[in-house]
Symmetry: C2
Subunit: 352 residues, 2 copies
């Protein structure tokens, strides 16, 4: 019954519509690049790695249309489609990373086979990276729980996660989510707390759904309860994904991450960021240079179809925030673990 | 058109049903004490001071029924009703404070006139205290913005508030809300940010509604964005109410307050707690001794009628948290201002 949230099948891109979860499981079939851009913009698919994979398939669709229209004059249209897809959302660097690979792969002959092979390679590598991150992160948790005094490894650790970082966000087994499920299978995890993640509720709608499917017990909490949770119940790690990691280790991630990192530091809870190396952008020197998306107020003023604030209310709706490297204990990529990340360690990690 | 959220009229207690705001303005007419208890439990009325006023009128209704049933033997029934009303919600001490006054006022003759006079006095004093708190808090803001380096008074201050502390929460002009509207009328406030306050959305449903009615412009934000707001936009004060203040200055308030206080300290934003002296409980030595309510998971797993998490999900739903006195810069009561509160200053303040 369940297929993957992102799948290329019979010449179409099939996306699980994440806007309708967990109530409705509906797959959308896309066969044009503008449809793919709209799907990314409207959050049919979200999550930095998943956006990259989706956009790569979008280029295949653009190439097919352009080549069918003109087997000699298709290139400019494909390049334009790549530029258009790149504007779907601003923060996640994986989108631009995947598109750069697609652009670099453009052949002189019929581009469809080459581009499809490239998109599928990006997708396969994502899946492999997710598995590797899961193992690296779980090993790091086994090594020592938390960043300091609150550590305990004997009877399993308690973790908080934020937003959604599973298959829905990556097309593979996930980033932070993969660490949690891997560590859970290893018997390392005693308790998973998932923040609901307003306004889009990725936590309660998507992470809860994926945790259930993976048989991992959990408790949801409102985002504002996380700091207090660290005060009154034992927590070892906050484990989150990232939308972009700057060269100095500053991390852009879902709004709320910064507050979690503050509270984690105060309570000596470890702060772990899990993301593939494609999320690290050496061209962005620090978090200040990361373009952060602000979405429509409507996401805050309502929930699904329900309006929750009085008509005419204004809202500030930043989608992401930046957490400075100094608040992060560990970055996990498919290549391994960076403890107390800084610019030198990140450069070295990418070259290793 | 608009009447007060709590009103005694023609022998009935009339409550604005806060569960249905801002979409529907509906008043419920209560004429028995069990109805009043249910209204407090189900959050027809909420907010520590408002609960106290409501319960006081509930005792009048209990006394009327008991005296009608037996003009000689009514006392035990009224005492039982007072005990029952006291169990409606555990955290706010104003409830028990108001009920203790009602119990102390019990006469030997027909209790209704005496108790109604007592309830009305509690209500009137609440209204007067709200006005006084508004002035004291606004004066404190005028004195110096924030707790330290971020202060600026010349072009108005920016404040964050959490939950709802206006007329709906008090029956008067509010606690923290009264400070904000008073300071706004004085031209001191440049910007008001209101946290939506999941799970019950007191911020987006109630505070937004009351700010609009008072002509105060505002922006709503999801709770998890508040820490980041302090990082990227100028904020001078976090101004909140309280459900109970322990003898040492620890403050129980809406879940999320503790995280806000953490972030405020990190960003040198002032932390102001506004509450009538009836909220201070000298019998509670510190925050550890305050009973904190945990409500149904359903409040987290859904919103209004909409389910947002998959069936069978668990949730942790603490309604309040405790912020230690060390994170609080100012407590404002109807008697004045306590800077950097501690046990000695609070004792002295109550005796002054």
């Amino acid at each position: 019954m369940q297929t993957n949230p992102i799948e290329w099948r019979d010449g179409e891109l099939i996306l699980l519509d994440q806007r309708r979860l967990p109530d409705t499981i509906e797959y959308l079939r896309l066969d044009t690049a503008p449809q793919v851009r709209a799907a990314i913009e409207d959050m049919v698919v979200r999550g930095a790695p998943a956006i990259g994979v989706t956009a790569a398939y979008g280029v295949v669709l653009a190439a097919r249309a352009a080549y069918a229209e003109s087997p000699t004059d298709w290139r400019d249209n494909v390049v334009a489609a790549i530029a258009d897809l790149g504007e779907a959302r601003p923060t996640a660097v994986n989108l631009r990373w995947a598109l750069a690979q697609m652009q670099a792969a453009l052949p002189n002959v019929d581009p469809v086979p080459t581009l499809l092979a490239t998109a599928e390679r990006i997708h396969r590598k994502e899946i492999a990276a997710n598995i590797a991150m899961g193992e690296h992160g779980a090993n790091r948790i086994a090594k020592v729980a938390g960043s300091g005094t609150s550590g305990r490894t004997h009877d399993g650790v308690a973790v908080i996660t934020h937003c959604n970082t599973g298959a829905l966000a990556t097309g593979g087994s996930g980033t932070a989510f993969s660490v949690i499920t891997t560590a859970y299978r290893h018997g390392q995890i005693a308790q998973v707390f998932a923040c609901e993640t307003r306004p889009w509720l990725q936590g309660s709608r998507l992470t809860a759904w994926e945790l259930k499917q993976n048989g991992v017990p959990f408790e949801l909490l409102v985002d504002s309860a996380a700091a207090y949770l660290m005060k009154v119940r034992h927590v070892d790690w906050v484990i989150v994904g990232a939308d972009r990691i700057a060269a100095n280790g500053d991390v852009a991630n879902k709004i709320g991450t910064y507050g979690l990192a503050n509270a984690a530091r105060r309570h000596k809870v470890g702060m772990m960021v899990v993301a593939p190396t494609s999320t690290i952008d050496l061209a962005t020197p620090s978090g200040d240079a990361i373009p952060l998306e602000t979405r429509s107020s409507d996401e805050v003023l309502g929930l699904a179809a329900a309006r929750i604030a009085p008509p005419g209310s204004a809202a500030w709706n930043p989608v992401f925030d930046v957490t400075e490297a100094g608040l992060i204990d560990v970055i996990v990529t498919e290549k391994g673990v960076i403890d107390l990340p800084n610019a030198a360690k990140i450069r070295e990690h990418l070259q290793a």
